[in-house]
């Protein structure tokens, strides 16, 4: 009898381990599928974004052309410096928006701080970029328009997939 009890116990222990193993395998496959879907969605989003004209490039080219007579030896260097300065300052401000320390209105009022006295910009490129985003934001706000594009749908899908993957990781 004792041997029979032992056998039944071992049988249940092995069965439970197998069931747990299979369940983990299914979870792992599901997570892998989500990860692959995420990669595909990101590729599609990138493809959509790259089809559009880049407004920053357009602003820079336009600024270059309008200052063709004022060019000095350091003009190109100064432009690149200002592009990088603008990007870094805009990123810092976005971090503040993400942490709730800066409102959207304040962010778009001067995305890269180009109108502040100690902005460090060497040309007016920073201001051009700042004005572009402010006007775009105010226009959209006034029109109360909704974002409606394939790229936006891909972005939403990516956020949903990230949430699902995070849920699997938290389990």
């Amino acid at each position: 009898m004792k041997n029979k009890h032992k056998f039944i116990m071992y049988f249940f222990a092995i069965a439970l381990s197998l069931i747990s193993c299979i369940s983990e395998q299914e979870n792992s496959t599901e997570k892998e599928n989500l990860a692959n879907e995420l990669i595909e969605a990101k590729k599609e989003l990138k493809s959509e974004l790259d089809k559009k004209e880049n407004p920053i490039t357009t602003i820079m080219e336009s600024y270059k052309k309008s200052n063709i007579l004022a060019k000095n030896t350091n003009f190109e260097e100064n432009l690149q410096f200002d592009l990088e300065n603008s990007y870094l300052r805009m990123s810092e401000n976005l971090k503040l928006v993400g942490s709730g320390k800066l409102s959207n209105d304040d962010f778009y009022n001067d995305v890269n701080g180009a109108f502040q006295s100690e902005s460090g910009f060497k040309t007016d490129l920073g201001k051009k970029i700042s004005i572009y985003y402010k006007e775009k934001y105010l226009q959209k706000k006034a029109e109360k328009g909704e974002t409606n594009s394939y790229a936006y749908e891909k972005f939403k899908k990516i956020q949903e997939l990230k949430k699902e993957i995070k849920n699997y990781e938290d389990e």
């Binding site: 990007y87 993400g98 909704e146 972005f155 939403k156």
Partner: protein, 69 residues
Amino acid sequence: MRTSKKSIIIVFIMLFGVSVAQQFENGACDLGCMEEAFELTDPIAEGGDYEQAYEHFEAIYNHCTATYC
């Protein structure tokens, strides 16, 4: 003649290789900008405002690629 043909072939292969490497580099740069844009805008998206998060995402992605790629 054989030596000059070989030289021409080698030059073409090198040019092709440089071109492929350049494409790869640009592609990697764009992907880097995309990841950085997600890093900056995910906290906004997590708050539920997908539209606003996307506007910021597109802006920072464009700025990054224009600046560095």
